[in-house]
């Protein structure tokens, strides 16, 4: 496979939900949306609330269908609008970390983390070791037997993050995963994510409404317009890694990029 083929390519995606009763047509959420992500790239997308960011990730993860457009994974067409049945996760090639942690409340933390591996029949010695490393890296060691309701919000977030990392899908979609935690925990989680990403580089599509977060994490920031969402700008972030997220404004070039992304958003 040549390196010219992007890991993920989205072409002319359009989406609107079925009209509600008494309404002729519902508005377009996405219209003619196109972008691509390179292998091992950390792509962030920033857009105003209600821009259809979650809808976009739902369509890529094949939890939801599109009205128009195509999606290619390593050059292979995986989604044609109004086409055949959906294949959520495209045979475990796409991981999806959502806004809510979505841990199963009746399963202990460790059971939640290892469940995808068990479902895929891949919970072998190597996977066990990998899970142990991830637990350690996210300071969850010792809490394996706790139920989700016994863990703090930040711990639940980390558990839901490593649940996806543990089964190692080539692409991970993230939908504002840190929006529901306090600022301090959030910085910690972002730092954790970057460290984990550095350990084994994945292709990540990370969606947020927070400009600083988008710049701090990404190799590239796409700016989405208000709904119907379109890409209005594409910024390459050349800030050196590893980045100290505790002092964002001291990072070289951060302020300038922040200003231009902010202008693009308006």
């Amino acid at each position: 496979m040549s390196s010219a083929v992007p890991m993920l390519e989205v072409k002319g995606l359009a989406k609107r939900f079925p009209p509600r009763s008494g309404q002729a047509e519902s508005p377009w959420i996405l219209a003619d949306l196109s972008f691509h992500v390179a292998d091992q790239e950390f792509l962030t997308m920033v857009g105003p609330s209600g821009a259809g960011k979650s809808t976009l990730l739902n369509i890529i993860a094949q939890v939801d269908g599109a009205n128009e457009g195509k999606i290619f994974f390593r050059g292979e067409l995986i989604e044609t609008a109004n086409g055949s049945a959906l294949h959520p996760g495209w045979n475990c090639q796409f991981g999806y970390v959502t806004q809510d942690d979505n841990l199963l409340p009746w399963r202990t933390m460790i059971d939640n983390v290892t469940l995808p591996l068990k479902l895929q029949g891949r919970f072998d010695a190597a996977a066990r070791k990998r899970v142990d490393e991830l637990l350690h890296a996210t300071h969850l060691t010792g809490f394996e037997r706790y139920y989700p309701h016994e863990l703090s919000g930040g711990m639940r977030k980390r558990a839901s993050l490593i649940r996806t990392l543990a089964y190692d899908p080539p692409i991970i979609l993230m939908d504002e995963p840190f929006s529901a935690v306090d600022a301090q925990t959030r910085t910690q989680l972002q730092q954790d994510l970057l460290r984990l990403w550095n350990l084994g580089r994945k292709t990540i599509v990370f969606v947020t409404h927070d400009i600083a977060e988008a710049i701090a994490l990404g190799d590239r920031v796409l700016v989405l317009s208000k709904s119907p969402a379109k890409i209005v700008a594409d910024h390459r972030i050349d800030i050196k890694r590893p980045r100290d997220l505790g002092n964002l404004y001291k990072l070289e070039g951060f302020g300038d990029i922040f200003e231009s992304v902010r202008r693009d958003l308006q």
Partner: protein, 268 residues
């Protein structure tokens, strides 16, 4: 271990030791009121607690208690298993076909609304006066209790959990086993909690109508002999039976739903 042990809930554990004392006090108060009732109404109208207890003792000694309890319990259990299983499984099937659910909904509501007691003569005609009639009668009551509770559970499934598990590679069978079953289980327990006493009282009422053994038959027999002590003794035995079965259910439920934060302190 858990956060509750040191959190604001720690007080609950000390206060909980007062619960058995309170229960005992209420129990004694009820027996006193009962005795006062006997004193004012006369023993013919309301047999005293002691007379009732003496009758139960006598029944136990003669072996009648064991025989009649076993018959009634057997009918209730068989009806509960048959009707309960059917009522619990149907919602899982209907989840897979919304169209079938819409089609069956008015039929099931109508069948639920039909008074089962009014059908008793037909049941006797079809199944005779033996155990079968009572089992069918109990099953026809219990079925709906588990069906509607199970359906409420199915409708409360979090679609986000389903989507998450699908993305992680789960088949429809895994979704059913992991999410549908675990979400619905507490609802089925609530249904069972209502269904258990209904099953026992259903068996007793069935025996009122036609039987040659069982606690209901004993009560009916005592009634025809103007034996108020016998009627009351029978009612007390049924009540105790319901309490014992409920206590067992509570144990099973607490163990099976241990993951829930409230499971140990409150059971609905």
């Amino acid at each position: 271990m858990t956060l509750a042990a040191t959190g604001p809930w720690s007080g609950v554990y000390t206060k909980r030791s007062l619960v058995p004392v309170g229960r005992l006090a209420v129990g004694i108060a009820l027996i006193v009121v009962w005795q006062l009732g006997t004193n004012t109404m006369g023993r013919e109208w309301l047999p005293s607690p002691l007379d009732t207890l003496a009758r139960i003792w006598q029944l136990a000694a003669s072996g009648e208690l064991a025989r009649d309890t076993l018959v009634t319990f057997g009918e209730a259990a068989a009806g509960l298993i048959l009707g309960g299983a059917a009522g619990a499984v149907l919602p899982f099937i209907l989840r897979l076909s919304p169209r079938l659910m819409t089609a069956l909904d008015p039929l099931i509501s109508a069948a639920f609304g039909m008074p089962k007691l009014a059908l008793a003569p037909l049941f006797i005609l079809w199944f005779g006066i033996g155990i079968t009639t009572k089992v069918v009668f109990v099953a026809s009551i219990v079925f709906f209790l588990l069906f509607y509770n199970g359906l409420a559970g199915i409708l409360s499934i979090d679609p986000r959990l389903v989507a998450m598990l699908r993305v992680a590679g789960a088949s429809e069978w895994v979704i059913t086993r992991e999410i549908v079953w675990n979400t619905t289980k507490p609802f089925l327990f609530s249904g069972l909690k209502i269904a258990l006493p209904r099953a026992l009282s259903g068996a007793v009422v069935g025996e009122f109508i036609a039987a040659d053994a069982g606690l209901g038959w004993y009560i009916q027999n005592a009634r025809s002999l103007n034996d108020t002590t016998g009627v009351l003794a029978g009612a007390v035995i049924v009540t105790v039976l319901v309490m014992v079965v409920n206590a067992i259910l509570q144990r099973v439920q607490a163990r099976s739903l241990a993951w829930r934060p409230i499971a140990r302190d409150m059971t609905v």
